[in-house]
């Protein structure tokens, strides 16, 4: 992954979020407060502006800037979570060009940070349910010799699968947990948006 690919990834997330804004809002309205789409749109459009305006010296700089922008523009639960995740990933990628293994380590660090901050386990019906299997799949693909594009595709597939699997769960973290059993039968919006983030990586990697 190089700097341009990192930027393309952020642009790709922004486009996906813009496209899915309404749907993310509806998913959040069903179990939360309906702002998830709007939150991410605000955050990633600012992030795109920020990473376009900067002259980064590393892949990590792009991701760190993305994270910092998310933290200072999004608010809510997803702002600190996604923001810190991108910052944690960025910290691991202090080079102009990084290998799939590095990206895997960065994604692991991001997952670790989300878990630390939010305290959610897999099965709590949060973004962790998409991110954790995605990171696993990414690492496994790289382990078995896959390139970035291949690993990212595996991660995106796993994230989408993980997001779908949140439907029957009862939420134990975040706003949806207030609903108790009524949270069952709905997709977790953050898990769905996490799948968008990883699909955007897969697409950027396939083109780059």
């Amino acid at each position: 992954m190089d700097i341009e690919l990192a930027r393309a990834w952020v642009r790709g997330i922004d486009a996906a979020v813009e496209r899915e804004r309404e749907r993310l809002g509806e998913l959040d309205a069903a179990v939360g407060d309906g702002d998830h789409g709007e939150n991410l749109r605000r955050g990633f459009s600012s992030a795109v502006e920020a990473v376009e305006a900067m002259d980064p010296d590393s892949v990590g700089a792009v991701l760190t800037k993305t994270g910092t922008t998310l933290v200072s523009r999004v608010g809510g639960a997803s702002g600190p979570l996604y923001g810190s995740a991108f910052r944690a990933a960025g910290k691991r990628l202090a080079a102009e060009r990084v290998e799939p293994e590095d990206v895997g380590a960065a994604l692991s660090a991001a997952l670790e940070e989300v878990r630390r901050l939010g305290g959610a386990q897999t099965g709590d019906k949060t973004m962790v349910d998409a991110l954790a299997p995605a990171v696993d799949a990414f690492l496994k693909a790289v382990d078995s010799g896959g390139g970035l594009s291949e690993a990212a595709r595996a991660a995106a597939d796993a994230a989408e699968e993980g997001a779908r699997a949140t439907e029957p769960l009862q939420a134990r973290k975040g706003r949806a947990s207030y609903l108790g059993e009524r949270s069952i039968g709905h997709l977790d919006p953050g898990a769905v948006s996490t799948a968008l983030v990883l699909r955007a990586l897969a697409e950027a990697a396939a083109q780059g």
Binding site: G25, A29, A30, V31, G32, D33, G34, D35, E38, N39, R42, V71, S72, R73, V74, G75, G76, A77, S78, G79, P80, L81, L117, G118, R172, K173, G174, R175, S177, Y178, L179, G180, R182
Partner: protein
Amino acid sequence: MKKFLNTADTYLTDALAGFAAAHPELSVNLESKVVTRARGPVAGKVGLVSGGGSGHEPLHTGFVGEGMLDAACPGEIFTSPVPDQATEAVRAVDSGEGTVLVVKNYTGDVMNFEMAAELLGEEGLQVETVLVNDDVAVEDSTFTAGRRGTGATLLVEKIAGASAARGDALSEVAEVGRRVNAASRSFAVALTACTTPSAGRPGFELPEDEIEVGVGIHGEPGRRREKLRSAGEIVSDMVDAILDDRPLESGAEAIVVVNGMGGTPLSELYLVYGEVAALLEERGVSIVRSAVGDYVTSLDMAGCSITVCEAQEDFLPLWDAPVNTPGLRWGV
């Protein structure tokens, strides 16, 4: 969606601009979205800062002023503020005595204010956080995000505000705020869903004869849906939920808040208050102070919350102390 607005995107800044125009005694930064008392930090006084998603007006912006908050940072509609807002607010009001942050217990609010507190700590500023979590509709367990902060926020901000105003130290202001929170329990019911400007339609569909019971303040559905019943029956269940969670003995004294969610006429709130008063009287609890009105709202939601706070000795003089804010005013 039927609202007085120009565009959904400008709703919040337009409303804040109007708030700024109506309250020249406050200083409103429309860029960073921070509201402070115009005259800056008060020497020798502990600062009191709160914030949270917008859409709950008058909370928090309307509680900035003498005897209550020194600053508020309103986030986007129903979205907690970002750390930058909180740090700017605290820096603007800190007089060297430290600042108490009043934070409602939502994952987003907690994380954003924590990040702010960390940054401020690194800058050498003293910050204490009071977490408000009074809503008994949510079980406070490891299987949830914990009880939400709702109507008790009014009590915490007023009483901690008075404590700070009379010159109490940082730890004392935080401590009384925490005790008010610990003594308070709330429960809310919605008759209608609310509509956020960006969604453009109600957050959930509710038939003409049904209500959402155990709702929060962000337009989420509640714990369960019920048939609409008489006010007496609804309120009785609400009071039971509150007192089951934190029983009050006969002879106890309480401060009661009946709070409208934004779309409820005042006459209905008084009607609800009448039911609460009768139920507490039956249990031998005397209401020593009360507030009936819109304090912690959810945009245009029709509904109300009830908060019962066991009045400890030092709460009353602090509640009665002068306050001069857009949303609460007496004694000055």
